[in-house]
C-alpha cells in the first residue's frame, strides 16, 4: 500500500511517515495541498491521509481535486476539531468520509486504513 500524507505540520507528517515505514507501509509526505497536487502528477498512491485545515487549499478541497486525477484513491482525514462529531457537523461530506481526531493512536490509524481499503475491496 502506498500512502500520501499531507499536513502543514512538517514534524507531524515526517514522524508519522517514519512510524508507518517501521510497519512496512511506504508513505510519502508533503506539507501543502499544492505540493500534493504536484506530486500526484508523477506518483501513484492508494490512500491519502489529509489534514482538514490547511493554508489556501483545505483538505476537503484537496480531496475533490485528487479524486478527479486519481478516482481510485481513498482518503482519511485528520482533524484538529474537538471530536469526530464536531467534524461531522462541520462538513458537507458528513457520513461519507473516514476521519480521525488528532492526536491519533497509530493502532487506530492502521485500523482505519484497513477499513478504508477494505471498503474499496467491497466495491463501495
Amino acid at each position: 500500500m502506498r500512502v500520501l500524507l499531507v499536513d502543514d505540520e512538517e514534524q507531524l507528517v515526517s514522524t508519522l511517515a517514519e512510524r508507518l515505514a517501521f510497519r512496512g507501509i511506504q508513505a510519502n509526505w508533503v506539507t501543502s495541498s499544492t505540493a500534493a497536487l504536484e506530486l500526484i502528477e508523477t506518483e501513484s498512491f492508494d490512500l491519502a491521509i489529509l489534514d482538514v485545515k490547511m493554508p489556501k487549499i483545505s483538505g476537503l478541497e484537496l480531496k475533490k481535486r485528487l479524486q478527479v486525477l486519481r478516482p481510485a484513491m481513498r482518503f482519511i482525514f485528520l482533524t484538529g476539531h474537538g471530536s469526530e462529531d464536531d467534524f461531522n457537523i462541520g462538513t458537507a461530506e458528513a457520513g461519507k468520509d473516514f476521519y480521525l481526531v488528532k492526536p491519533v493512536k497509530i493502532e487506530s490509524l492502521l485500523e482505519k486504513m484497513n477499513e478504508v481499503m477494505q471498503q474499496q475491496g467491497d466495491g463501495k
Binding site: 505540520e9 514534524q11 512510524r19 485545515k53 490547511m54 493554508p55 489556501k56 492526536p103 491519533v104
Partner: protein, 215 residues
C-alpha cells in the same frame, strides 16, 4: 439593549469563539506531534528489544522535537490566558504595544491559513491608553480578519503602532480596500476611535485616543 450594544456584544462573542477555536486547533497540532514522537520512541524501544542498536543522536533529536512542541504549546496557552483575563476589568490603563503584540500573536494562525505573515512594529516609546481592553482586542482582531479576507496576493501584512499627539495610530499596510464591516464601525464608535486611509501609501489607519472610555 440597543442594536449597537448588541452588535458589539455579538462581535465580542464571535471574536472570543474564533480565537478559542484557533488556539485549540494549534494545541491539538502540538499534542499530535508530541504523540507521534512519543510513539516513535516506543517503536525504537521495541526494535532495540529485538536487537536493533539505538542511535543516541536519534533519541536526542526526538527529545528536542518534544521539547520544542511543549514550548510551543506553553506559549499558546500563555497567550490565551492573557486574552481570557482581558475581560477581568471593564476599563483598564494598558500598554498598547503589549496588547497589539498579543492580538497579533493570537491572529497568526488565521494569517497562516491565508499564507500571510503578520509583522508587528512596536513604537519607539511605551504608549499607555485607558480602554475597554477586551473590545480593543476585538477591534484589532476584526481588522486583521477583514484585511486578510480581502487579501489575495500579499505575503506580509505589517501593523505599525505609532504615538500621536492625542493618542496612537495603528497602521495596517499594504491595504487597498478600507474596512467597512458594520461591526468594526460599531467597535470604533464604542472606543471613540476613527478610521482613515492613505491610498498613496496603501495604508489603513485606526486612530485611538488616550482615553477610549471618556463620555
Amino acid at each position: 439593549m440597543s442594536d449597537y450594544q448588541e452588535s458589539i456584544g455579538a462581535c465580542g462573542l464571535h471574536c472570543f469563539g474564533s480565537i478559542s477555536a484557533s488556539v485549540s486547533h494549534e494545541l491539538k497540532n502540538a499534542l499530535a506531534i508530541i504523540n507521534e514522537n512519543a510513539g516513535l520512541l516506543e517503536d525504537l524501544s521495541f526494535m532495540a528489544e529485538k536487537g536493533l542498536p539505538l542511535d543516541p543522536a536519534k533519541l536526542k533529536s526526538i527529545a528536542a522535537n518534544i521539547g520544542k512542541q511543549i514550548q510551543r504549546a506553553d506559549g499558546i496557552i500563555r497567550n490565551m490566558n492573557r486574552f481570557a483575563h482581558s475581560t477581568d476589568d471593564t476599563v483598564k490603563r494598558i500598554d498598547l504595544g503589549e496588547t497589539m503584540a498579543l492580538t497579533v500573536a493570537l491572529s497568526s494562525r488565521l494569517a497562516a491559513m491565508k499564507c500571510v505573515t503578520l509583522i508587528f512594529k512596536p513604537p519607539t516609546q511605551t504608549i499607555y491608553v485607558t480602554t475597554h481592553l477586551f473590545y480593543l482586542e476585538n477591534l484589532i482582531w476584526l481588522y486583521i480578519k477583514e484585511i486578510l479576507e480581502r487579501t489575495d496576493t500579499e505575503k506580509e501584512i505589517t501593523l505599525t503602532l505609532r504615538a500621536q499627539q492625542e493618542g496612537a495610530a495603528v497602521i495596517f499596510s499594504p491595504v487597498d480596500v478600507p474596512v467597512i464591516d458594520g461591526r468594526a464601525i460599531d467597535l470604533l464608535r464604542y472606543l471613540k476611535a476613527t478610521q482613515s486611509a492613505n491610498s498613496q501609501h496603501r495604508e489603513l489607519l485606526i486612530m485611538l485616543p488616550v482615553d477610549m472610555t471618556a463620555c
